[in-house]
Symmetry: C2
Subunit: 137 residues, 2 copies
Amino acid sequence: MQLSNTSQYAIRMLAYMADKKDSPLINATELAKVLQIPYKFLTKIMTELVKADLVVSMRGREGGYSLSKKASDIKVDDILNIFHDSIQEEQCVLGIGFCNGMCKCALHDQWMEPKLLLQKMFRESSLEDIAGKGCKI
Amino acid sequence: MQLSNTSQYAIRMLAYMADKKDSPLINATELAKVLQIPYKFLTKIMTELVKADLVVSMRGREGGYSLSKKASDIKVDDILNIFHDSIQEEQCVLGIGFCNGMCKCALHDQWMEPKLLLQKMFRESSLEDIAGKGCKI
DNA sequence: ATTAATTACTACTTTAAGGTAGTATTAATC
DNA sequence: GATTAATACTACCTTAAAGTAGTAATTAAT
């Protein structure tokens, strides 16, 4: 019952970038060092964030990454969606596939309330909300 | 953000057994067929449930499995604990390791409410509560 | 132009979860 | 006692996530 490492890394990376919004570009070396994320894995994830248009990259010397839009306009759920880690409507606690109108899992009713809260948390929390909060690692 | 297949299978297996409490013993072949769980994987999981004392097994011809105690005394969380899938106190949304007093993750506060509801759901839902609910597969 | 510092791409390795196969053990039935 | 039908055990295979390595492409500074 946890987010994938990849999603967690991505959220922390973007939150750090949101926090340092003064510096126009942040490079992978700095991010990897501060956030204690394996450098090569970080760049791999970052490339996906670039492709998903959450981040813009500048190659070459003095290059780096920056958010593609205002931190308040990037929600945690946007990040989870990239890595297929968001909570889908039909997704239930049991049911390796999904619950649906025809076939609800045994914990369907109990799941409703926590599910809604989780979705709310992911959908309403923006990078601005979480930037600078908590420790970096 | 989902339970492991193993935990989901285990919960469904035990819920089905709770539902058929009249029949003293239920065998793996029936369970695998009804619940659509791979037979060999099911027996592997069941052996762990036996070792964890949630299930008693009877070997040999006419053998099978039965719950070791009343369905109302087996909580979903007991099952999750066996497969290290329960939500730990220090476990947070981010923080590949764990959040703690010293180092809270950026989503720590937002996570509190859904986390408590999830823990409540797992700790308070017994096999009796979920037996017969929902469809089997 | 050359160099240095950066991201992007391709391919591989490692690890853990999920799943399978075959054999040994057990116990009721015949 | 032999057979049959069940669980238990050991070892393996498969798949996907996590992580690594090396090279190509790009761009600012020199």
